[in-house]
């Protein structure tokens, strides 16, 4: 098992280097540098421009800048944001819990609904329920997130007044961030009204962010289940006279879960990507919104650091999924 994990980890290093290189190059390919974006139509005197570029190291050859950057990152230094002049790492750490909290809720929402819906659809294949689930998940999968978010806001928040429009917490509450997870912080503060407020603020963004993964999980569970249900050992189990619940719950589900776990793991990337839109709509102070601002302002260090740190978390989750595979399916862990 340990060897299995070590092999996996060693594969992570080139991935990191690749991501670092890509973000570094891509943001520099976008026209306009941070200083020119800042000065707009009024322009800047050439000597001041040169001085700033020198100070930020932008006058160095690209390879030099890249090597410097990698060197700093390896020593844990992600640099200072060009805009706020705060350390990129500390900005990320402040904002990431908000993104994570939302992503976890969305994942939970997608799994708790998607898994049973997929199983039921498979078991009742061809039924009205099956068609309903498949139709709904196709719709969910193709839903433009921005439109979907605004629609829910207009209906539930403006017309019905059931949920707050945006933000993480009603403004009358002020809870000192400890973990950065609003649900936990409000509970730790013992402020149950604030907790309820935080919960109600989570509902719409969770639905919006969870819609695509929900659709994916439901479809994946259904097809994996269908495949497994057609296997010989299921027929054997049934022939043995086992109860339906036992056949599906014990024999079929465990085997069907393997591809589903993969998909859930892969959805983490989708969730963090989707978070950029969801966070913008719901004014959610997470890393997605922060990255968008960084692109607009050409805040190179913030963008590079942010993408790298997000990539790290996606890679870690995938690693976790790989390990989980091993737990679910001993053949995988012994294969290497």
């Amino acid at each position: 098992m340990l060897r299995f994990i070590l092999t996996r980890v060693s594969l992570v290093i080139p991935t990191f280097l690749g991501i670092t290189f890509l973000t570094f190059i891509l943001i520099r390919l976008v026209p306009g540098d941070p200083i020119e974006v800042r000065v707009g139509e009024r322009g800047i005197a050439p000597e001041r421009l040169a001085a700033f570029r020198h100070e930020l190291g932008l006058d160095q050859p690209l390879w030099q800048q890249f090597l410097d950057y990698v060197g700093h990152v390896l020593s844990g230094d992600f640099g200072l944001s060009l805009i706020t002049h705060n350390p990129v790492l500390s900005e990320f750490v402040t904002l990431f819990p908000a993104t994570l909290e939302l992503a976890l809720c969305a994942m939970l929402f997608a799994t708790l609904i998607g898994l049973p819906a997929g199983i039921l659809a498979a078991v009742k294949r061809g039924s009205l329920f099956d068609h309903g689930v498949m139709g709904a998940s196709l719709t969910g999968y193709s839903m433009p997130i921005f439109w979907w978010g605004l629609l829910l806001i207009l209906f539930f928040s403006v017309a019905l007044g059931w949920t707050p429009v945006s933000g993480r917490l009603d403004l009358v509450y002020y809870v000192e961030p400890v973990t950065g997870f609003m649900l936990i912080d409000t509970l730790m503060a013992g402020d149950y009204d604030a907790f309820r407020s935080a919960l109600s603020h989570l509902i719409l963004p969770t639905i919006v962010l969870g819609t695509v993964p929900l659709a994916v999980v439901a479809r994946m569970t259904r097809s994996a289940m269908l495949e497994v249900l057609g296997e010989d050992y299921i027929r054997t189990a049934r022939a043995k006279g086992l109860a339906d619940r036992r056949v599906i719950g014990m024999h079929a589900l465990r085997n069907a879960l393997i591809p589903v776990v993969t998909v859930i793991g892969l959805q983490v990337g989708t969730l963090l990507g989707g978070a950029i839109l969801t966070e913008t709509i719901f004014s959610w102070p997470g890393v997605g919104k922060w990255l968008i601002e960084s692109i607009n302002r050409r805040d190179y260090p913030a963008l590079q650091g942010g993408v790298l740190l997000i990539a790290t978390s996606v890679i870690l989750v995938n690693l976790l999924v790989d390990v989980l595979y091993g737990v679910l399916n001993p053949r995988i862990r012994h294969a290497r």
């Binding site: 139509e41 403006v158 007044g161 945006s166 933000g167 000192e176 013992g190 004014s283």
Partner: protein, 532 residues
Amino acid sequence: MKRILLGAGLGMAAALALTAPAQAAKTLVYCSEGSPENFNPMLNTTGTSFDVALPVYNNLVQFEHGGTKVVPGLAESWTISDDGLVYTFKLRAGAKWHSNADFKPTRDANADDVIFSFERQWKADSPYHKVSGGAYDYFNDMAMPKLLKSIEKVDDLTVKFTLNAVEAPFLANLAMPFAPIMSAEYAAMLLKKGTPEKLDQVPIGTGPFQFVAYQKDAVVRYKAFEQYWGGKQPLDNLVFAITPDAAVRLAKLKANECQVMPYPNPADIEAMKKDTSILVQEQEGLNVGYVSFNVTKKPFDDVRVRRAVSMAMDKKAIVAAVYQAAGVPAKNPIPPTMWSYNDAIEDYPYDIERAKKLLADAGYPNGFETDLWAMPVQRPYNPNAKRVAEMMQADLAKVGVKAKIVQYEWGEYRKRMQQGEHQMGMLGWTGDNGDPDNFLYTLLGCEAARPGGNNLSKWCNKEFDDLVVQAKRTTDIAARTKLYEQSQVIFKEEAPWYTIAHSVVYMGLAKNVVGYKMDPFGVHRFEGVDLK
């Protein structure tokens, strides 16, 4: 594990004790459009960042609420020497500084604070000059380093500014967001602690609202400053809820999650005006979008061609189609909200026949070929330059002028336009200090006609230049107004620009908000605002 939890729990209880109940007090929530870069307007160039600092700070002088006139701020009065070179400011006695957990002021605002605030931006040897990146764009843009000769403390409450040259807009410059007065005592304390950058993140000022907290990308909180020299504000708390999406801001306003929202979607404005639960305010922005004719290049060296082209393009249709409710056709280079705007001037009519005749007179009976540059980005004074260019292109074809649309990346675009590489090209300007000089001299004076200068048309008209230079050297507003009015007449006759539009800016307010005035500079101020 239990112990850790207990510790955290105790910490929480302490944090809870600090939590201020905000419910009973009068709280106004402003749905701001973005996150501030920091809380020091010396370092910033965006309205979003200026907005968060405005409640906290005072300048020596400030713009009157809702106007461009300069009125007393931290300085209660000032005198200008006869030669126009020396400005002596008398500071308000007893102007108190805010305080916070780390800083308790021991004295009121005085001349040392003024000198510290300007020297930070001006003198490379100020210990704060390099803090937080040290880019003082506006201070440099307004040519302050060139203009300032010395700043001296006469006594605790008197400061003397000496200039190198007479510059009438100087006073207005001091009212701009880049010139707040900061506490030298607070700065020294932070420097001693080794955290000078906190000066730009946890602001201490003398303004109407005191900074309470900023949760990154989410909320900025202020409370009214009880000892404010102008009296305590009607509001008790001011909250900025950062809400980047315009449709969501509107939803929040409707759900009463905020009471003031800026920048609605132009498409929503009609519906907002019909909504009885919302007040809509509108005002022309302090800006202008225009097409520059490069007078150093053929055929635009001929004034008849410039006039003909001006008459060939249907301004009303362009503004209606592209700007919709968010713009008004422009006839002068300065916006209508600015003093000395010459309303007597008549714009060139849309008249294809006259345009054709003028072109024929100029020797182009069959028209000509030209380029037509369009910015690649959306700007306040031009929401879609490409679309404007396409409409112009179609109009020009009717008089035989073939225009080819040219676009570059934004930074490159500006640089090339400033070099004068275009024949016809679009750009615009947003006013800084509310002074006509900031448009007429900065964008149309001879000094700016050099390659790389902001006079994109490279139009240097002696008569016009004499007027605007003379206006710069005169401190009497009435006399300056006359000079500027006259200069606008010459501008129109000579037609170095085709003025397109001034933007119209909208604000959505809840019905119970009183005393909110839109600011011509496009910033958002909450002094004197109340909730019914």
